[in-house]
C-alpha cells in the first residue's frame, strides 16, 4: 500500500537553495502505460507477463512474411476510457503510423504507433500538492502503440538473445505539457496518474514489470526568462524514487553546466540506477529519422459520439471524485481521504467496512493503522489481506458497541489474522467481553483501594498523579476488560467520596 501523498513537506525551491532565486526547472513527462488487455495490440497472442521466452509470440508478433495486424478493440476502449477521465477531446478520426527503425527486438523493423491524429487529444489532470494546493497539469495527448520485445545480453556467448513475448503488447503513451516545476511535483503527477489508470482498471500499473514507465524531458531557465532552455530527455525510469533522483540529478547537472558558462546539449540521456547519474545516450545530431507514415495495413479508427457515450457509462468513480466524497460523506480529513482512496481496492475495502454501520473514523483508523501495518509487515496487498472487510467490520462492531476495548481488540485482531474465526467467536472463547456491570467494577475498585491503603492516603493528601496508578491496578485485576471511561468515572466518584 502506498500513499498518494508523502508525509514530508514539499519545498518548491530547488536544491541547493542558493540557486533558488536564479534557476527554475521545466519538466514534461511521457508515460508508457501497459494496457491490461487479454491479447496483444495487433495479434491474438496472450500478453501476460513472465511466460517462458518466446512462448507468447505468434506469426504476427514474429513479423513473418505476409502477416497483417488487426487492431484490438479492447485497447481502443481502454484508451478512450482514459481520455474521458482526463476530460480530453476524443477525436472522431484516429490513425496508426509506422515508426521505422532497425533493432533486433523490433521484429517488423517498424513500430506501429500513432503520430498525427492520436486516439486521445488534449486533456488535463489535477494533482494535489503537499501544501494542499491543487495544480492542473495539461496533457498534450495519449496514443496507442505496440511495445517491442526484449534483448537479453546475458547467458549468450558473443551473442544476444531475443524474447518476443512482449513484442506487440499494447501501450498507452501519455504525454504531458511541460507544466511540472520540480522532481517532487513530477512524482506527485506520476502517482496521481498511476492511481487513475488503476482505478480505470486499464493497467496493472506494475512498475517492476514495466507496466508503468516514464521518460522525462527536463530543462532549466532563469526565473525571469520566458524562453525554454534546451531540453534533455531522460530514459529508463521505472520507479518513483529513481524518477525523482534522476530529474534532480539532471536539473543540478544542467545548472552546473550553465553556471560554468557552458551550454546544455539537446540530447537523450540514460539514468544509471547504480551510479545514480544520467549519461549521454545520443545527441540531437544522431537523432533518428523515424520516417513516420500512415500504416497502409490498418484502416483509420472512427469513433462516434454514441460510442463515446457508451464508454462513459462504464467509467468508475474516479479517484478525485471519490476523494472528495470520502471527505464529505464520511467526514474524513484530507489526509485520511487521500490515503484511503490511493487505490481503488483500498477504497472499496473501506466502503465495504463502513457499509456494515461502522463509524467512519473508527474504520479509517483501523484500516490505516493496524491493518496497514500488518499488511506491510507481511508484504501483502489489500486484496490479499487475511482479514476481509466483513471480518474486520465484525471486530469494529464490537468496539463500537463497547463489547471490547480497543486494547483487547488488538489481541482479537491478531487472532483474526491467523485464524478463520469471527471476532465474536474469539471474544466468546477467550471470554474477552468488556465488564460494564457497575457493581462488578465497583467491587473491583473497592478491593484495590483496600489493598493499597498507603497510596490511598497519599492521594487524599493531594498526590493526584496516583489516580493513574489505581486505574492501572484495577485494569490489571480485570484482565483489561473494563471499559476505561466507565472505570475513570467510577474511580473518580469513589476517591472523591
Amino acid at each position: 500500500m502506498t500513499s498518494a501523498i508523502s508525509k514530508k513537506s514539499l519545498p518548491n525551491q530547488l536544491q541547493p537553495s542558493d540557486k533558488a532565486d536564479t534557476w527554475e526547472s521545466v519538466i514534461g513527462l511521457e508515460v508508457h502505460v501497459q494496457l491490461s488487455t487479454q491479447s496483444k495490440l495487433f495479434s491474438g497472442a496472450a500478453s501476460a507477463y513472465g511466460a517462458e521466452a518466446n512462448t507468447q509470440a505468434c506469426a504476427v508478433d514474429l513479423a513473418l512474411p505476409g502477416v497483417l495486424p488487426v487492431l484490438n478493440a479492447e485497447a481502443v476502449n481502454m484508451a478512450i476510457k482514459f481520455g474521458l477521465s482526463i476530460q480530453a477531446n476524443i477525436p472522431h478520426y484516429s490513425i496508426f503510423a509506422r515508426k521505422n527503425y532497425f533493432y533486433p527486438d523490433l521484429p517488423k523493423g517498424y513500430q506501429i504507433s500513432q503520430h498525427e491524429n492520436p486516439i486521445v487529444g488534449a486533456g488535463h489532470l489535477t494533482i494535489s500538492l503537499e501544501n494542499g494546493e491543487q495544480k492542473t497539469i495539461r496533457i498534450t495527448r495519449a496514443h496507442l502503440e505496440e511495445d517491442a520485445g526484449k534483448s537479453l545480453h546475458e547467458g549468450f556467448e558473443n551473442m544476444s538473445g531475443i524474447d518476443l513475448n512482449r513484442a506487440g503488447t499494447p501501450l498507452l503513451e501519455i504525454v504531458s505539457e511541460p507544466d511540472l516545476t520540480s522532481p517532487k511535483e513530477a512524482v506527485v503527477y506520476l502517482k496521481t496518474l498511476h492511481t487513475l489508470v488503476r482505478y480505470l482498471d486499464i493497467s496493472d500499473g506494475n512498475l517492476q514489470e514495466g507496466s508503468f514507465r516514464c521518460d522525462a524531458n527536463v530543462s532549466v531557465r532563469k526565473t525571469h526568462q520566458k524562453q525554454l532552455g534546451k531540453r534533455v530527455e531522460i530514459k529508463n525510469l521505472n520507479s518513483f524514487r529513481f524518477i525523482e533522483k534522476a530529474i534532480q540529478y539532471e536539473i543540478d547537472r544542467q545548472i552546473d553546466v550553465l553556471e560554468r558558462g557552458g551550454s546544455v546539449e539537446q540530447e537523450t540521456r540514460l539514468y544509471d540506477t547504480d551510479k545514480q547519474e544520467t549519461r549521454p545516450m545520443r545527441s540531437k545530431e544522431d537523432a533518428k529519422d523515424y520516417r513516420y507514415f500512415t500504416d497502409p495495413d490498418l484502416c483509420p479508427v472512427v469513433i462516434t459520439a454514441d460510442f463515446i457515450e457508451k464508454i462513459k457509462q462504464t467509467l468508475p468513480e474516479l479517484p478525485q471524485q471519490r476523494h472528495a466524497r470520502f471527505q464529505s460523506e464520511y467526514k474524513l480529513s484530507l489526509y485520511d481521504a487521500s490515503l484511503l482512496t490511493s487505490t481503488r481496492e483500498l477504497a472499496d475495502y473501506y466502503e465495504e467496512v463502513v457499509k456494515e454501520k461502522i463509524p467512519a473514523k473508527l474504520a479509517a483508523n483501523w484500516i490505516m493503522g493496524e491493518l496497514a501495518a500488518a499488511l506491510n509487515k507481511s508484504n501483502l496487498t489489500i486484496l490479499e489481506s487475511p482479514i476481509n472487510a466483513k471480518r474486520l467490520a465484525g471486530l469494529l462492531q464490537r468496539i463500537a458497541d463497547q463489547t471490547i476495548s480497543s486494547t483487547i481488540a488488538k489481541d482479537v485482531f491478531e487472532e483474526l489474522w491467523v485464524s478463520q474465526k469471527t471476532s465474536d467467536e474469539i471474544i466468546q472463547e477467550k471470554n474477552l467481553q468488556q465488564v460494564t456491570d457497575q457493581s462488578a467494577i465497583s467491587k473491583l475498585i473497592d478491593e484495590i483501594l483496600l489493598k493499597y491503603p498507603e497510596q490511598l492516603a497519599d492521594y487524599k493528601s493531594g498526590k493526584d498523579k496516583l489516580f493513574g496508578f489505581f486505574v492501572g491496578q484495577v485494569m490489571k485485576a480485570s484482565g483489561g476488560k473494563i471499559n476505561p471511561q466507565q472505570l475513570n468515572n467510577l474511580l473518580k466518584e469513589k476517591l472523591n467520596q
Binding site: 513479423a63 513473418l64 497483417l68 487492431l71 509506422r98 521505422n100 523493423g109 507514415f293 497502409p296 495495413d297
Partner: protein, 485 residues
C-alpha cells in the same frame, strides 16, 4: 487435354473421362519436359500434388466434389504455403519454409485444387519482366528470347505453355495484367480489398492485390468464386457479399457504356497496337456497346506517383528481413551493424535495393512533404478522376501495355524505360479499381492485351464484358506452337 480450360477439365473430371491423378501426372510431366526452357517454377511439389489428386479422386467417387476439385494449379511464390518453400524469388527467403497458409491458399485448398508448385516471379514482385529473380529470368513461351512480363511472369509463362491450367498472380502496378497481356492470357486484378492479403508477402500494402491468371474469363470467374472473401485477418479486406461471378457471364452488352481514356490513345501509341485495340472496340460496338471518349487528365503523373508510394511502403515492409529471425543471414557477422548491412546487402537484388533506397529517401524528414505527402494528394485527385469517369461510362477500355513482349535484357539497364511498360496499368492500383486484361490479337506473332477497367466491385461486369468478347473471338485459344506438343 493440356489445352483444356478449368471449366472443360472440371467437366471431364465429373464425367469420369479422366481422373485428377491422371491430370496431375500430365501437367507434372509437362513441367518436367518444358520448364527447363521456361524456368517458370521455383518449386515443383509432385508428392503433395499426387496426394491432393488422390484425395480429389476420392471426392469424385463420393460425389462431394466441387467445380475446382482436382484441378491442377500453381501459386505465385509470393503466397505463403505451409510446409513449402516460399521464397518471393529472393535469396533473402531462399531457405524460408512458410509455417502457415495464406488465406487465399487455404480457400483454394478447401475448393480442392491440386498444387503443382510455386511459380517464379520478380524478386518481391518488383519488376515488369521477371528478370529480377534470384532463380533466373523466365522466358516467354511465344518467343523464348523475350520476357513473359512481370512480376507474375512465372505464372503467365506456365499457363501460356499449359504447364498448369491456371495460376494465381499478384498485381501491385500491373503484375497480373501486363504478363497476362504479353503471354496471351486473361488476368484479373480485383478491387483492392476483394481478396484477402493475409499471407501474401507484402510489396506495397496499399496497392497489392491477388487475382487469377487463366485462359478465359470464364475460368477467372470460376476461380474468383473461391478466391474472393472477407477475411478478419486482413483489416483492409472489405466485408461485402461475393456474387456468383459465373451467373452474369453471358449477360447482354446491349447499351453498355464503354469509355476510351483519350490519354491512352495519344499520338505516341504504336499504330499497330492502336489498330488492334480499334478492332476490339468495333466488335464491342457490334455487340451493342456505346463508345465514348473520357479524360483522365492526371494520368501522366502515375509513374512517379507509383514509384514514390510503392517504394515508400516497400522500404518499410521489407525492413523485417534483417537476418535475425528467419531467412538469409550473412556469415559470421562481427556486430549488429555488420549483420544488417551484409545480410541485406547480400540478400536483396539490385532492383529491390533501388526501390528501398528510393522509398527511404521519399519518407525521410527533408523529402516527405515534397514527395510522399504530395503523392498522396495526387492519388486522391486520381481517385476522383476515375470516379467522375465512371459517372459517364460503365467500363474503360484501352491497351494493357504500350508494346508486345520485349527482348530479355533489353531494358535491364534502363529502369525508367522498364517502368514505362506499366504506364496503362499503374493508375488502376493507385485508385484501387478492378481491371482485366484479355487477349486482343497478335502483332508480328506476339500477343497483345486489352484492358477493361471498372469501378469498385464491378468484377462481375468486367468478366461479363470479357467473356462476351471471348465468345466472338479466338485469340485466347491460341497457344505457342513450340510448347503445344
Amino acid at each position: 487435354m493440356h489445352n483444356y480450360t478449368i471449366t472443360e477439365l472440371s467437366n471431364a473430371l465429373r464425367a469420369k473421362k479422366v481422373s485428377s491423378t491422371e491430370l496431375t501426372q500430365l501437367f507434372l510431366a509437362r513441367i518436367d519436359k518444358f520448364d527447363k526452357i521456361l524456368n517458370s517454377f521455383i518449386t515443383v511439389t509432385p508428392t503433395l500434388a499426387l496426394e491432393q489428386a488422390k484425395q480429389a479422386d476420392l471426392q469424385y467417387q463420393k460425389g462431394s466434389a466441387g467445380p475446382l476439385t482436382g484441378i491442377p494449379f500453381a501459386h505465385k511464390d509470393i503466397f505463403c504455403t505451409a510446409g513449402i518453400k516460399t521464397s518471393c524469388a529472393s535469396k533473402m527467403l531462399d531457405n524460408f519454409i512458410a509455417p502457415y497458409d495464406a488465406t487465399l491458399v487455404t480457400r483454394l485448398n478447401q475448393a480442392g485444387t491440386v498444387l503443382l508448385g510455386k511459380t517464379n516471379m520478380d524478386e518481391f514482385a518488383m519488376g515488369s519482366s521477371n528478370e529480377n529473380s534470384f532463380y533466373g529470368a523466365v522466358k516467354n513461351p511465344w518467343d523464348i528470347s523475350r520476357v513473359p512480363g512481370g512480376s507474375s511472369g512465372g505464372s503467365s509463362a506456365a499457363v501460356a505453355a499449359r504447364l498448369t491450367p491456371a495460376a494465381t498472380g499478384t498485381d501491385t502496378g500491373g503484375s497480373i495484367r501486363q504478363p497476362a497481356a504479353l503471354c496471351n492470357l486473361t488476368g484479373l486484378k480485383p478491387t483492392y480489398g476483394r481478396i484477402s492479403r493475409y499471407g501474401l508477402i507484402a510489396f506495397a500494402s496499399s496497392l497489392d492485390q491477388a487475382g487469377p491468371m487463366t485462359q478465359t474469363a470464364e475460368d477467372a470467374a470460376l476461380l474468383m468464386n473461391a478466391m474472393a472473401s472477407f477475411d478478419d485477418k486482413d483489416s483492409t479486406s472489405i466485408d461485402r457479399a461475393v456474387p456468383n461471378y459465373l451467373s452474369t457471364l453471358n449477360d447482354s452488352l446491349e447499351g453498355l457504356k464503354i469509355g476510351l481514356p483519350k490519354e491512352y490513345f495519344s499520338e505516341d501509341l504504336d499504330p499497330k497496337v492502336a489498330a488492334t485495340i480499334q478492332a476490339a472496340i468495333k466488335l464491342y460496338e457490334n455487340l451493342g456497346a456505346k463508345i465514348s471518349s473520357v479524360s483522365l487528365p492526371n494520368c501522366h503523373l502515375v509513374i512517379p506517383l507509383y514509384y514514390i508510394i510503392a517504394s515508400a511502403e516497400c522500404s518499410s515492409n521489407l525492413a523485417r528481413y534483417d537476418g535475425v529471425r528467419y531467412g538469409y543471414r550473412c556469415n559470421n557477422p562481427t556486430d549488429l551493424k555488420d549483420l544488417y548491412e551484409r545480410t541485406r546487402g547480400e540478400g536483396f537484388g539490385n532492383e529491390v535495393k533501388r526501390r528501398l533506397l528510393m522509398g527511404t529517401y521519399v519518407l525521410s524528414a527533408g523529402s516527405y512533404d515534397a514527395y510522399y505527402a504530395k503523392a498522396q494528394k495526387i492519388r486522391g485527385l486520381l481517385i476522383q478522376e476515375f470516379k467522375e469517369a465512371f459517372q459517364q461510362v460503365d467500363v474503360l477500355l484501352g491497351p494493357t501495355t504500350p508494346t508486345t513482349a520485349f527482348k530479355l535484357g533489353e531494358k535491364v539497364n534502363d529502369p525508367v524505360s522498364m517502368y514505362l511498360s506499366d504506364i496503362y496499368t499503374i493508375a488502376i492500383n493507385l485508385a484501387g479499381l478492378p481491371a482485366i486484361s484479355i487477349p486482343a490479337g497478335f502483332i508480328d506473332g506476339l500477343p497483345l492485351g486489352m484492358q477493361l477497367i471498372g469501378s469498385p466491385f464491378t468484377e462481375a461486369k468486367l468478366l461479363n464484358t470479357a467473356h462476351r468478347y471471348q465468345q466472338e473471338t479466338d485469340w485466347h485459344k491460341k497457344v505457342p506452337e513450340n510448347f503445344n506438343l
